[in-house]
């Protein structure tokens, strides 16, 4: 079937290959991955749809600039090992990105095939080759440069930190990641549910990083266990620090009743379930409340994760409350569709005004008001306005606030001289990603506000380049590193 001789016209006739998925009725009863992955046949067929454009827009649309047409050709020809090698030239975590990247807003959005037909399923193909490599045990670690003797500390083991660490390790720097929680991965582990990103995959990607010589220190809270200043001081001796602490501060609405029992932040809800495995209580010790009627406020990707988690925990009815409409919903279309298939009750143009509790302080209902869309606001989306007199009450026993996260202030407050913007995010040089403190770099949600895994990874990579240049300058460009060269990393 793969001749490689198809004309563009013929290629355009191939329909986008469907992603095999667990049946919606079945999958709401388990936490296993929903999208099962393409078969080799489906993958090769899908890759055949690529037109191999002379000026591939998809590459420019990828925040880490993967050479997409090149790896698609290899898939088409069945040379999966070559395909994954190409992906990994620029992306260190393809099994993760292939699953959670919003491709429809990036590479696939600008795909030329997509102008007339459905775009090439680049994300699914990326996932396919990453999974193929893992399943076939032929994993090749990137080659690391000779040790430079420079030490870099990475604060936070989420997507930006992992990407930054991988790049620096490749360049021969000695890298230590400091993670506050007991497991590395950041939002990949505590936030994104198992059914969307199996934790086994995160663990595997991180193990590869460790094999490249990256050291990971869990249970270490930078800002508390040691400050950034101390890390760069004599004792710890780091030459540069990268801050990738993410958007780890949950927002609440500020409405009455938000501290009742059964009101969760999305962070808490997802952390209990994903990181602490609360869905397997009492086999695991951390409990999570299992409600019968659950409301989730918000309609972003995190809200979708909460809604679908609630279903899997055994809720009978799960309601999404969002003050705008489906069209403005910030969630990925695929996530929205999955949630709809699974039977989420979406109440668009609906906003909570008060949470009501019983005598014991447990949630019993939420009072909501209907909204209508008015003039566009600064985000360009039409601003929702409450419709007077439209309030009504929905009986619920649990509610999750998934209305966004802000920058966690722990590192920021303990790092004097670090310039922040008015939202409390770190200000960086756009080219080098260096903060107002020389040698201290930052990237990911802590700089941009809550965004996506791939944007954070792109920022981590960019910062790694900035750090590399900074370190070479520090050692005297092309000159001797100031430290003795350490033994090359094992593995």
């Amino acid at each position: 079937m793969t001749t490689g001789k198809l004309s563009p016209k013929e290629r355009m006739q191939i329909p986008r290959q469907p992603m095999p998925c667990q049946d919606p009725h079945e999958r709401v009863l388990n936490f296993a991955e929903v999208a099962l992955g393409l078969t080799p046949e489906l993958a090769r067929r899908e890759a055949e749809r690529c037109l191999e454009c002379k000026d591939p827009k998809c590459v420019a649309g990828c925040p880490v600039g993967i050479d997409i047409p090149r790896f698609l050709v290899e898939i088409r020809e069945g040379r999966f090992d070559e395909a994954i090698r190409i992906v990994k030239e620029t992306n260190t975590l393809p099994a993760i990105c292939g699953r959670v990247c919003p491709q429809e807003d990036q590479c696939e959005q600008v795909c030329i095939v997509g102008k007339k037909k459905d775009p090439v399923a680049i994300g699914r193909l990326e996932r396919f080759v990453a999974d193929w490599e893992r399943d076939h045990g032929t994993v090749e670690l990137p080659v690391c440069e000779e040790p430079t003797g420079f030490k870099v500390a990475i604060v936070g083991s989420g997507p930006s930190g992992l990407a930054c660490a991988a790049e620096l390790a490749r360049n021969g720097h000695s890298v230590t990641i400091f993670e506050a929680l007991h497991k590395p991965g950041g939002v990949l582990v505590y936030g994104i549910p198992e059914f969307r990103l199996p934790k086994e995959i995160v663990r595997w990607e991180i193990e590869n990083l460790e094999k490249m010589g990256v050291e990971i220190r869990c249970n270490f809270v930078v800002g508390k266990t040691a400050t950034v200043e101390e890390l760069m001081g004599e004792e710890w001796g780091f030459d540069a620090v990268f801050i990738g602490t993410g958007a780890g501060l949950p927002y609440f609405m500020g409405i009455p009743g938000e501290n009742l029992i059964g009101v969760y932040s999305a962070n808490e809800y997802l952390t209990r379930v994903n990181l602490m495995k609360g869905y397997r209580f009492p086999e695991f010790d951390t409990p999570v409340k299992v409600g019968k009627r659950i409301a989730v406020v918000g309609s972003g990707n995190v809200a979708m994760d909460c809604l679908r988690t609630a279903l899997r925990l055994g809720a009978e009815e799960v309601i999404c409350l969002y003050r705008r409409t489906r069209a403005e919903s910030p969630a990925r279309l695929e996530e929205l569709e999955h949630a709809e298939e699974e039977g989420i009750d979406f109440r668009w143009l609906t906003s909570p005004v008060e949470i009501l509790g019983d005598d014991e302080g447990r949630v019993r209902a939420v009072r909501v008001i209907k909204m209508e869309l008015g003039e566009p606001d600064e985000s360009g989306r039409r601003r929702p306005k409450p419709i007077e007199g439209s309030e009504y009450t929905i009986d619920i026993d649990e509610i999750v606030m998934a209305i966004g996260q802000g920058p966690n202030p722990l590192v920021l407050q303990t790092t004097p001289g670090l310039e922040l913007n008015r939202w409390g995010n770190i200000v960086v040089d756009e080219v080098t990603m260096m903060t107002s403190i020389p040698g201290v770099f930052a990237g990911g949600d802590i700089v941009t506000g809550a965004a996506t895994v791939i944007l954070a990874m792109g920022a981590g990579k960019k910062a790694a380049a900035g750090i590399h240049d900074y370190l070479l300058g520090k050692g005297g460009l092309g000159g001797e590193p100031r430290r003795e060269v350490a033994a090359p990393p094992a593995g």
Partner: protein
Amino acid sequence: MATILKKETIAPAFKRYVVEVPEVARKHQAGQFVMILLHEHGERIPLTIADSDPEAGTITLIVQEIGKTTMEMGLLPEGTEIAVTGPLGTPTHIERWGTAVCVGGGAGIAPLLPIAKALKEAGNHVVSILGGRTKELVILRDEMEARSDEMIYTTDDGSFGRKGFVTHALADLIEERGKPDIVFGIGPAIMMKAVADLTRPHGTPTVASLNSIMIDGTGMCGCCRVTVGGETKFVCVDGPEFDAHQVDFDLLMKRLRTYVAQEEEAKRRFLEAHRCRATENAEVTA
């Protein structure tokens, strides 16, 4: 990972652990806590640091065996490695106030240890009022005596010190000598509430250390939130110490009961599995 170097029973269902975790020991200040996790299937719980030895690289934890995790911890042999993260929370604000009263009930006496020490070092006259149900549950008496200028003891059953609650002793103290310059009240939420109610009319600055449920302990989940002066605060990062007069203790007590059913179930299962080893503890804490 941190290593449990030493474990000893200091009272029925109370154990003292010396844990080797040099980076935490070095940075610890009064009022701070650690999050611990016993194993992969465990839950993360906050424990106040009762003492630290930066030179030896150790911290001391005083743990009341009250639920599954604390009971399980009690069965771990010395040498076991556990995850310990910290020191977390905002340190106690210490000044030379004059007369400082430390009111401690039950397990709340442990967090008072470093506070009393810091208060005394800052030149305060420290009066400690410690209470418990019965004599043997008034823990850490020698340690607190070493850090206090005066001691008052109370027991519910009158087996030691005066019969009654710590609040009775505090009320009498205020009546006899006038109001102190500051009060630190740490213990069960109901006790801290009573202390706050007692000192409020006198306008005596009063600090409580709250014991909310936490997961990460770094401000990420918001599970530990409480209402203080009408505002939502996170105990893990904004606290654990707050102006006791501003704390909504009723809300705190309700939120502490969030998982009471699951906690009972976990404890029941644990005791069934470990009946022979844990029953003596369970009898006391039940």
